[in-house]
């Protein structure tokens, strides 16, 4: 999905292709999703981050279809700005706010994959540690205590930061899923870690091979 201001849509396309799937570029102004079987909402600054990150993108024609699709089980992965869009669209609980230290952070980040039965993480081992890039200014995940306890209790924390918390996210949360596991939001960038030449690892590729596996299994 490309919104005006998306940055990582091309890298997401490339990651999907490297995983063995056929990527289709979607445009925010088109309601029609071209029969795609899963959607990646990429990182960037959709609509210039006006109002709040992801707040305007939520009302784009394509998002109407994606919200409907996601509620009917279509797999959706939101990365960085895409995670912010999913929270604004209430497909995921909580919100992402400015980093507690007020600086943009850009570094390779270690994560622990905590939930491996989602459409996007079934290719990982439970507890597997991975290294992928992180780059955000507003990546602090916040939610009220009740929501956080619910996420933990239902095993919906998909990934957690290891080492120093890079942005003040509550409980070191880097990614979460909805109750059904088809919608996942993640602040770090697996699509930038799919080839030795350009990434710190190839640890991100399994997000994209996972979705392919789960779609093939369904077919």
């Amino acid at each position: 999905m490309t919104f005006p201001g998306s940055l990582d849509d091309r890298d997401a396309l490339r990651a999907i292709r490297l995983a063995g799937a056929e990527p289709v570029l979607l445009w925010h102004g088109e309601k029609w999703l071209s029969d795609v079987q899963a959607v990646v909402l990429p990182g960037g600054f959709s609509y210039g981050d006006y109002l709040r990150c992801g707040a305007i993108a939520r009302f784009s024609p394509a998002m109407e279809s994606i919200v409907d699709g996601a509620r009917n089980g279509m797999p959706v992965l939101g990365i960085c700005n895409g995670f912010q869009v999913l929270c604004e669209a209430h497909l995921l609980p909580g919100a992402l706010i400015r980093n507690d230290h007020r600086k943009f952070v850009c570094r390779d980040q270690r994560l622990r994959i905590e939930r491996t039965d989602t459409a996007w993480t079934n290719g990982y081992q439970p507890g597997q540690e991975i290294l992928i890039p992180l780059k955000n200014g507003e990546g602090g995940y916040v939610a009220d205590q009740h929501t956080l306890d619910e996420l933990e209790g239902e095993g919906r924390v998909v990934a957690r930061y290891l080492g120093d918390n890079p942005n003040g996210s509550y409980r070191d949360i880097a990614g979460i899923s909805n109750a059904a596991g088809n919608v996942v939001g993640l602040m770090p960038h697996p699509e930038h870690a799919v080839e030795d030449l350009t990434g710190p690892s190839v640890d991100g590729l399994a997000f994209f091979t996972s979705i392919l596996n789960s779609l093939v299994e369904q077919a």
């Binding site: 109002l51 707040a55 919100a95 507690d100 230290h101 009220d144």
Partner: protein, 77 residues
């Protein structure tokens, strides 16, 4: 037409890093006695008589503010 003002501010329990940066700058400005700053957003809407209070609440609650992290007030100016 009437003017409506919507003010949005982060909930007290949510950290406001920008407010903190402003507070720190106040210290460097040489002003003491300010113990807290919360930064928010101020919206001015020109609306006609068809937009009732309920509609304004809806606008503030679904678009202007994110109620997960922000509180808002709506008042007719």
């Amino acid at each position: 037409m009437a003017r409506v003002v919507v003010d949005v501010v982060m909930k007290p329990e949510i950290l406001d890093p920008q407010g903190q940066a402003i507070l720190n700058a106040l210290g460097r400005l040489g002003i003491a006695g300010v113990s807290s700053v919360r930064q928010g957003k101020h919206f001015e809407l020109e609306v006609d008589e068809t937009v009732d209070h309920e509609a304004l609440e809806h606008i503030a609650d679904t678009l202007l503010a994110n109620p997960v992290i922000e509180d808002f007030t709506v008042r007719r100016g």
